[in-house]
């Protein structure tokens, strides 16, 4: 992991992986998390939001009385969100193509943990704060080091495998093949054949998300919590 720059690591072990697993990933992402649902339903009618890293767009239609601009780094996930009737564009969280102070609320669900250095995680958060209107709220979810589920991790920077079932999902043609796949072996288990992808994650310790949101600056933290193996923070942008 150390031999790659953070940008290279994200390119190979985050961006390329999501392009490859998009349809399968999307099929496993349909149930909104209750905290996100509550946040969306607490926004006044007619509010304008940005969901940065919207994936297949599962939060874009939760509250029909809002307008949410979805975006994702993955073309294939953006395509899926768009085909489901949602507004979506392709962009990078580190360089958002939106005006300053323009959104009533911002969602960042399971995105910041894919950035491979603290500097980049803070930069990503700064961008989210920049596009938020003063008084607007931001909800950030990241994976926790403290797991209550079946997974156990012994360090914060890890690769987590994604098994793409070969029989149900066409894996990408040679030219789109991420590097990760070529170093991985195709494993045969008793039921089906999988292509294995390694996704990079930085797992957050308790209090770490709060700390880097404060480093990014410009917001006051209103609520911090733990839900389904994730840490989340709701913060409000200051009126300078």
């Amino acid at each position: 992991m150390d031999s790659l720059s953070s940008a290279e690591l994200e390119s190979t072990h985050v961006h390329s992986v999501y392009e490859a697993i998009a349809p399968h990933f999307s099929d496993t992402r349909y149930k909104p998390w209750p905290v996100v649902e509550r946040f969306l339903n607490s926004q006044p009618d007619g509010s304008i939001g940005a969901d940065v890293g919207c994936g297949n767009g599962k939060y874009l239609g939760v509250n029909k009385k809002l307008f949410i601009a979805g975006s994702d780094r993955s073309f294939n996930l953006s395509k899926i969100a768009h085909e489901r009737g949602f507004e979506c564009l392709v962009c990078d969280n580190l360089k958002l193509p939106y005006r300053d102070d323009s959104f009533d609320f911002v969602l960042s669900i399971a995105v910041i943990h894919h950035m491979a250095s603290e500097e980049r995680r803070v930069l990503a958060l700064k961008e989210l704060v920049r596009i938020l209107k003063p008084g607007g709220r931001m909800l950030v979810f990241v994976w926790a080091m403290e797991q209550h589920g079946r997974r156990r991790f012994d360090q914060q920077d890890v690769f987590v495998t994604w098994n793409l079932p070969k029989d149900r999902y066409r894996h990408p043609p040679e030219k789109d093949k991420p590097e990760s796949e070529t170093v991985q072996t195709t494993t045969n288990n008793t039921r089906s054949c999988h292509v294995v992808y390694d996704r990079f994650y930085h797992l957050f310790l308790q209090g770490e998300l709060d700390r880097i949101i404060e480093l990014a600056g410009g917001v006051d933290i209103e609520e911090t919590g733990y839900d389904r193996d994730n840490w989340f923070v709701i913060s409000k942008k200051r009126y300078t």
Partner: protein, 121 residues
Amino acid sequence: MRLITHNMLQCPVKGCSKDNFPLRIEDAEIENADADFNPQFLKRMLDRIAWGALVQTSFSLGVAKLPESPGDPNDDEFLQTLHHVLLETRVKEGRMVCNGCGHVYPIREGIPNMLLQENEV
């Protein structure tokens, strides 16, 4: 891409801070899609929109001629026009060009690609 989304966009190129908004839409293929008309929703959106940019974009695409300043939010005809411009008009194909630095952002199958090259970040 709906025009409300376009209204939120600015050029993300590093150091591009003059004329970086609104992005000029070129060679656009426009399509219309019905959306539910919600007057309350539109009224609240009015003060969230960069009005001048919307007037300019709507006119350049030949969608509608909006008044120079936002109309009466209780005027149903005005709201209907605004609804059509913001939410029902979509750019399916084409490109957006920054008037400041000239960067081109393609739009394919309704999805703008706003990614930059590594040296532009």
